[in-house]
């Protein structure tokens, strides 16, 4: 079943909570640093079948829309980093991936099922929340509508 987008709060756009983690390449990953870009924040795991299906599409989008202002960010909810690093290298993910934890999950209202993807506009507002498999065509159209340099 494809997931429909929903906002975390209906009443108003919510600012994406800021966080800093070290990514798999050992670099600092700070969400706020991506202000001015559209951020696709994807919570995933190597054991999650639907996650593995959508990751190649996110990698392709990162290539296609990088100069237009898209930044994909992956947060793995695997308990162990080893399989994440293996997949990251084998599938040549072209965007930063960091290990998530319960604290980060709670910051986003609980990551209690995967995949879970947030769409964040250039001002840092959460404009979409996709629990489960998103309709990738609709999501791509939404991203394109938000890009600062289409």
């Amino acid at each position: 079943m494809l997931a429909a987008a929903s906002l975390a709060h209906d009443s108003a756009l919510r600012m994406a909570p800021d966080f800093t983690r070290t990514d798999l390449d050992g670099k600092s990953l700070n969400l706020r640093k991506y202000r001015g870009k559209v951020v696709l924040l994807n919570f995933w795991a190597t054991w999650c079948g639907p996650c593995l299906i959508e990751i190649p599409t996110f990698t392709a989008w990162q290539n296609t829309y990088r100069t237009a202002g898209l930044q994909v960010v992956g947060i793995s909810m695997d308990d162990d980093a080893a399989p994440v690093k293996r997949l990251y290298q084998k599938d040549r993910l072209n965007y930063p991936v960091a290990m998530g934890d319960a604290e980060l999950g709670e910051l986003f209202g609980g990551v209690l099922g995967l995949p879970l993807t947030y769409l964040i506009d250039p001002d840092g507002h959460i404009v979409g929340r996709y629990q489960g498999e998103p309709d990738l065509k609709q999501l791509e159209a939404r991203i394109k509508s938000l890009l600062p340099r289409p």
Binding site: M1, A45, W47, C48, G49, P50, L52, I53, M77, D78, D79, G100, D101, A102, G105, E106, G110, V111, L112, G113, L114, Q131, G132, E133
Partner: protein, 159 residues
């Protein structure tokens, strides 16, 4: 009799469903759909029995992932480990080895949509293979967040 037959045919059903999946197989795990419907428990029913002082309480085991369990889990449930992985399955067997075979056990995961869960059928199969006769499975259609937490059923955090 019918129920016994279903359980006896469980391994063959697993193999059939696994082999008949169309397209690429991303992860080799037993499909949750192979679990007999008679052994499924709906979230609303479990929540009601947890509320009831008189209802018997099964041993509740979470056979999913630590980071999900730490954010929210069913009160009284124990984290065992991801049964879809060898290490988690071994932990489940070690935990179960301490129990009487007629212990009422309820397992749950909720990491992913039911049809994609890598853990639940593996845990169910392992417990049956060990001879447990009173194993039930919490049916979580989409994920623990949507099917349990958002419905207002009780949770605790940590672990």
């Amino acid at each position: 009799m019918k129920h016994t037959l279903v359980k006896a045919l469980y391994p063959a059903a697993c193999a059939f469903i696994l082999l008949s999946q169309p397209g690429p197989v991303l992860a080799q795990h037993e499909p949750a759909a192979s679990i007999p419907a008679a052994d499924l428990v709906q979230p609303a029913d479990l929540a009601a029995s947890l509320k009831s002082a008189s209802a018997p309480k099964p041993l509740i085991l979470q056979v999913g992932f630590r980071k999900l369990y730490a954010q929210a889990h069913i009160p009284g449930s124990e984290f065992v480990g991801a049964a879809g992985e060898d290490a988690g399955l071994q932990l489940l067997r070690e935990r179960a080895a301490k129990l009487s075979k007629d212990t009422a056990i309820l397992i749950y995961c909720g990491c992913c949509p039911w049809s994609h869960c890598p853990n639940i059928a593996a845990a169910y199969g392992a417990l049956h293979a060990m001879g447990f006769t009173r194993v039930k499975v919490l049916y979580i259609a989409d994920n623990f967040g949507d099917d349990w937490v958002k419905r207002g059923y009780p949770v605790v955090t940590g672990g």
